[in-house]
Symmetry: C2
Subunit: 347 residues, 2 copies
DNA sequence: CTGAAAGCGCTAACAA
DNA sequence: TTGTTAGCGCTTTCAG
C-alpha cells in the first residue's frame, strides 16, 4: 500500500559481508561498532568487503537490537531565534559519529510541556537530549528527566547539582566588561533593559551590569533599569520609558540584541544620533546586529561551539566513555561596533 | 557498556496489549496503523487497553518490520536564514502523523553534495525528502533522487516534469505588483538588485520587475540593474554602484531583504532620508525587515505554510494516499511599510 | 580473538 | 473481521 523505499539491487546485509569474508556476523558487527577484539587483519578485510559490496548498515535494525536510536533530541522554544546556531553545533558533533538530530520545538509556557517531553523521550526515538534556554531553566524539566534517568546536557544553565551536565558562558563577567567599556567612554547615566525574568542567563547579565557600575563607582539609579521581555517590542517600550527619565541616560545596555534593535528604532524616530546622543549595546550578536545601522555593539556568545561541546559530550556519555562531571564554561567576547561612543560633553 | 535508555517498569509491547484484550498481535498492529478491517468495538477495547497499560509503540521495531522510518529529511543549505520557518512548517505537518524530522544542512556548492545526499537517503534513515532552494534548484539532485526512486517534494521550484511535486509562490506576479506600487508612487528611475544567479526563484523576481516596468511604461535602464548575491554585503555593493548612476534611481527594489538591509545601510551613511530621498523594497519579510529603521517594505512569502503543505503531501504519498500530481501555488503578499514613499518632486 | 543461536517488537503474507 | 507464522537486520548472550 505505502510506497516502500526501493531496494534494487537488494540491499546488502552483514550476512553478505560475513559470507564474503568468511567470518561470522558477529565479527562484522564488531567492526561496525568499533568494538575491540578483532584482529586488525580481519578488520581490514571486513572493511574492504563492506566497501566492495556497497554495504550500509540498516539503522532500524541496529536500533531495535541495541535498544538505541543514535538520535539526539533538541528541545527548544519555538520562537527562539538562536536555534540555528545551536542546531549547527549539534550537527557538527553528530557528523562522523553516526548520530543524527531530531528537533523538537515547543512552547516553554505550554502547561502540557512536561507531557510532551515525556512522550518525546519515551517515543522512544532519541537516546539523549540537549536543552537550551528558556527550557533548560525549568526545574521541572530536569526533574522529569532525572526521574526517567534520561541522558541530557543543558546549555546556558547553572548546574543545580554536581552530576548535572552543562555548558555555559561567562555572562556576568562579560556584561561587567561591557559596562566598563561604556563607563570608560565617559557615560555616567547608563540604563539597562533586563531580559525576560524566566530566563536565568538574563539575570546574570543584569548582575554583570551591576558589577560594572559598582566597579566604575557609578550609581545604579532604579529609574534607569527597566524590565524587558527579550522582544523587539519590549525594547521599544523600554526605550520610550527610559528616554523620559531625567537625567536622560546617555547609554542603554540591553540584555539582548532584539531589544537593542527596538531601542535603536526609538532613537532614530526621535532623531537622536547614535552614538553621539545615545550609545546602545546589545547581547548575543544575532545576525541582525551587524545589519542594522549603525552596526550594533554587542556581545558574542559562541553558541555553535557550546552546542558542539554539549552534543559531543552527550554522545560520549551514550557510548559510556564520559567522565562523571561536565560543566564547561566558554568565553563570550565584546564586539565593539558603531553604536557605542563617547558620552555627550554636556551630560 | 553504553548507557541504555532505562526501561523500568519494562516496556509494554503489542503482545501485552493483545493478551490483555484477548486478540492477536496483528489486530493490535492494525489499530496502531489505522488500518481498516477492525470492528469499532474491538478497536476501542484495544485503544483503552493501550492507555491502561501505558503502551507506546517501539519505533525501531516498526521501522525494521515495515521498512519505513517515519522520518522526513530536510536538506538545506547551511547558511539559509529562512530555514526556521521551513522547519516549523514541516514539523507542523508531522505532528499527529507519527512522523518526525531529520534535518540535514549542507553546502550547495560542495562537490560532494550528491554523495552526501545519496548517503543520507540510503542511510536508510528517512522515508522522504523535502528540498528547499538553492538545493531544490539543482537538477543533479532531482536526477539522483529520481534514479533512486526516492520520494521528494521541492519548495520554490518550477516542476521540470508533470510528475514532480512542488510548492511555489507567485514570485513573478508579486514582483510586478511591487514594481507597480513603486511606479504609482511616482518613481520612474527604479533600480533592481537581482538575486544570486544560482537561485531560480530569484530570476522570476527579476522577470516580475520587468513586467511591472513594462506595464508602467517605464524604461528598464541596464545601468539600473545590478547583480547581487543575496547577501547583506552584496546589497551594499549594489547600492554603492547604483547611487553613482545618473540619473540616480529614486527607488531600489532588492530581490531579498538582506540586500535591502545593505542598501539601507548605504543610504543612511550618505544621509539620504528613507523614503523621502530614496525608496527601498525587499523580498521575503525576514524578521529583520520589521526591525530595521525605517521598517522595510517587502513581500511576504508564506514559507511556513508552503513547508506544511509540502510535508503533508509527502506524508500522504508515503502512505500511498496521494494523488499523482501535486504542484501547489500559494500566494505571496505585499507588505507595505515605511521604506517606500512618493518619488522626490525634482526627479 | 571468534562464532552460534536467540531474540529485539513489530508487520507482511497468507489463511481462516 | 481476525489470526498464524515468518521474518526484518542487527546485537547480544554465552561458548569456544
Amino acid at each position: 500500500m505505502a510506497i516502500a523505499p526501493p531496494a534494487f539491487p537488494p540491499r546488502k546485509t552483514i550476512v553478505d559481508v560475513a559470507k564474503a569474508v568468511g567470518v561470522s556476523t558477529k565479527t562484522v558487527s564488531r567492526v561496525l561498532n568499533r568494538e575491540p577484539n578483532v584482529k586488525p587483519a580481519t578488520r581490514d578485510r571486513i572493511l574492504s568487503a563492506m566497501k566492495d559490496l556497497g554495504y550500509r548498515p540498516n539503522s532500524p535494525a541496529r536500533m531495535l537490537a541495541s535498544n538505541r536510536t543514535y538520535l539526539l533530541g533538541l528541545i527548544y522554544n519555538a520562537s527562539s531565534s538562536y536555534i540555528t546556531s545551536i542546531q549547527n553545533g549539534v550537527l557538527a558533533a553528530c557528523r562522523g559519529e553516526h548520530y543524527d538530530l531530531l528537533i523538537y520545538p515547543c512552547r516553554y509556557t505550554n502547561p502540557e510541556l512536561l507531557n510532551e517531553i515525556r512522550e518525546f523521550v519515551q517515543g522512544p526515538r532519541v537516546d539523549g537530549l540537549i536543552l537550551v534556554p528558556p527550557i533548560s531553566d525549568l526545574e521541572e524539566v530536569h526533574d522529569l528527566l532525572l526521574e526517567l534517568e534520561f541522558a541530557k546536557v543543558a546549555i546556558s544553565r547553572e548546574p543545580a547539582s554536581d552530576s548535572e551536565w552543562t555548558v555555559c558562558t561567562n555572562d556576568r563577567e562579560i556584561c561587567r566588561d561591557m559596562t566598563r567599556h561604556l563607563s570608560r567612554l565617559g557615560h555616567e547615566h547608563i540604563a539597562f533593559i533586563t531580559g525576560h525574568p524566566d530566563h536565568k542567563a538574563m539575570s546574570n547579565r543584569y548582575l554583570g551590569f551591576l558589577d560594572g557600575m559598582c566597579e566604575a563607582g557609578l550609581e545604579v539609579c532604579d529609574s534607569l533599569v527597566v524590565q524587558g521581555e527579550n522582544t523587539f517590542e519590549s525594547g521599544i517600550d523600554g526605550a520610550v520609558r527610559l528616554l523620559r527619565r531625567k537625567p536622560r541616560p546617555t547609554a542603554i545596555f540591553c540584555a539582548n540584541d532584539h531589544m537593542a534593535a527596538g531601542v535603536m528604532k526609538v532613537a532614530h524616530e526621535r532623531r537622536l544620533d547614535i552614538p553621539r546622543d545615545l550609545s546602545i549595546a546589545g547581547f548575543d550578536d544575532m545576525p541582525i546586529a551587524a545589519r542594522v545601522w549603525p552596526q550594533l555593539t554587542t556581545v558574542r556568545q559562541p553558541l555553535e561551539e557550546m552546542a558542539l561541546l554539549a552534543a559531543r559530550q552527550l554522545i560520549r556519555r551514550l557510548r559510556g566513555e564520559a567522565a562523571p562531571k561536565f560543566n564547561k564554561l566558554v568565553g563570550a567576547e565584546l564586539v565593539i561596533r558603531q553604536t557605542t561612543g563617547p558620552a555627550p560633553a554636556n551630560s
